[in-house]
Amino acid sequence: MAGRGKWISLAVLALLIGLLPLVFPSGYYFRVGALIFVNALSVIGLVILIGYAGQISLGHAGFAGIGAYACALAPEHLGLHPLLSLVLGAGISAAMAALIGKPILRLKGYYLAVATLGFGILVSMILTNERALTGGPDGMNVADPGLRSLLRDMGWRLSGGEFWYGISGLVLLVGAWLALNLFDSPSGRAMRALHGSEVAAATVGVDVARQKLRAFVISAVYASVAGSLLALQNGYITPDVAGFLHSVEMVTMAVLGGVGSVLGATLGAAILTLLPQVLTVFAEYEQLVLGLVMVLVMIFLPQGLLPSIARRLKGRDA
């Protein structure tokens, strides 16, 4: 049964990614779509961490920052191909997560939140202050990965928007597939178990510390890859990507969508990415409305959009 749910989720996602372009009136929609996919990717990482392992992080943008700046710096200083830089960034993020995760993950609840927050702030502070390397708060250019021109040489002409829409969508699908696999696996169950009761999880043989670390590292990699994709498609990157507000935005997306599922993550990412675009008509009222939407969703759908809606639908069926 769980196995079928996985394929349904993936199919829904794939159809959305594949069919939406048919109704896009302009290139701008590809851009927004790509952003949603990139955000959804990092939110899926957080779903693993928060929804499954029950560990909060207010510093995940730090990993996005590492991923983004890896793509900005490595090609320039190490002569690495931007795509390899993405892998390098993911590797550094994973290593970082493993390193800091060990001491940090012993903390619980808000103490963990503040520790991860500290990590995120450290990263963004380094990116901001090491001007010589990173361009400081003004940011720096990111080299074009050259893939588009490669495709063009192969006779496949795509606009930048279309290209990144495709790439982000593809990566999101892969990310979603991996996450769904994980959820329905012994590791996923172990993570949820330690979320429920660490003591009980330990007594059934779950290495709690290790399992937490696993979730942390995996989610860091998701955030890092998302950060890299963002840097590559923007062609320009500033320390904002690693900032506290971005961390909070990621958590908000996860919670808004419903912290337990891949589709929820995508939905949360979509809503929070689209809202500012929709709210431009309100201009002055944008912040007010954004805040209001967040509050209302949480009041009426406390489990997040997707789970709460699913629950209601189920309730009606019966």
Partner: protein, 290 residues
């Protein structure tokens, strides 16, 4: 030597600001286990409302009282309109509500007032007080005094009054609290009202030093949160010590090491403290047995 003293004055001033925010967190946290990320907004409101009332000709003390009362009412409204309806929701959802509320309050403030920086006069003038070659502004003494006063008040509230215990009981076990006759809804209202009032009070005290605009809340909440965690969440002692310590850490780092990385040093110290004491300096142990 006078430099050290100057750094200390600076640290205590800034630290007292953090402490006031951190103290504001304690009540709501103690009543509901929720860290109210809109706490910084209360501080901002305290400052902004006072500014506009004062500019409209209301005497400063009265303007301050108005600001505190209005903010307390907003706190109560936040509880009634957003927190209570979402009762039973997971804590992360409640946190997102408070974050949403803070964005909302910011957006509304920017509409009702403006996006400019503001300030009103210091209570006892701007002439610095000289001590052994270092200087401190009279307003800093107000802030430090305010933080101490709020601390003492909260400490008495939580250790000496039955209502204070009822607040703790509500967070610890809401059902049981109702079973012993505690009106948990009222306790929540009270907590939000008090927290907001403390926040606004802080805003009134610090605005002459830090200035105020619609968006100062985020940074304040962040630092206050860090301070509260350093000291141990929920304990007024922790909030006070955590705040002052954080302020002094930053000032000392800025003075002796590097101003660029003063926040970094502060966070590294917080991480180090938490590594040794996972519940902060004075954090209460939760005692759940298996």
């Amino acid at each position: 030597m006078d430099a050290l003293l100057q750094f200390l004055f600076s640290g205590l001033t800034v630290g007292a600001v953090y402490a006031l925010v951190a103290l504001g967190f304690t009540i709501i946290y103690n009543a509901s286990d929720v860290v109210n990320f809109a706490q910084g907004e209360f501080v901002m409101l305290g400052g902004m409302i006072t500014v506009f009332a004062f500019d409209a000709g209301v005497p400063l003390p009265l303007a301050a009282v108005v600001a505190i009362l209005v903010t307390a009412a907003i706190g109560v409204a936040l509880n009634k309109l957003a927190i209570e309806p979402a009762r039973g929701a997971p804590v992360v959802s409640l946190i997102i509500i408070t974050i949403g509320a803070s964005i909302l309050i910011r957006g509304a403030t920017q509409l009702v007032f403006d996006k400019q920086l503001h300030r009103f006069p210091a209570f006892s003038g701007d002439d610095p007080i000289r001590v052994l070659g270092a200087t401190i502004l009279p307003q800093s003494l107000w802030v430090i005094g305010g933080a101490l006063a709020v601390f003492v008040g909260l400490w008495v509230f939580f250790t000496r009054t039955l209502t204070g215990k009822a607040v703790l009981a509500t967070a610890n076990n809401r059902i049981a609290a109702q079973l012993v006759g505690i009106n948990t809804g009222w306790i929540m209202t009270l907590s939000f009202g008090l927290s907001a009032a403390i926040g606004a009070f802080a805003g009134v005290l610090v605005t002459p030093i830090t200035l105020v605009s619609y968006d100062v809340g985020v940074a304040l909440a962040l630092k206050g949160f860090a301070a509260a965690m350093l000291g141990g969440m929920g304990n007024p002692k922790g909030a006070l010590v955590g705040g002052l310590l954080l302020g002094c850490l930053e000032a000392m780092t800025a003075g002796y090491v590097s101003s660029q990385y003063k926040e970094a040093v502060a966070f590294i110290v917080i991480l180090a403290v938490l590594f040794v004491m996972p519940r902060g300096l004075f954090g209460a142990k939760t005692t759940e047995r298996v």
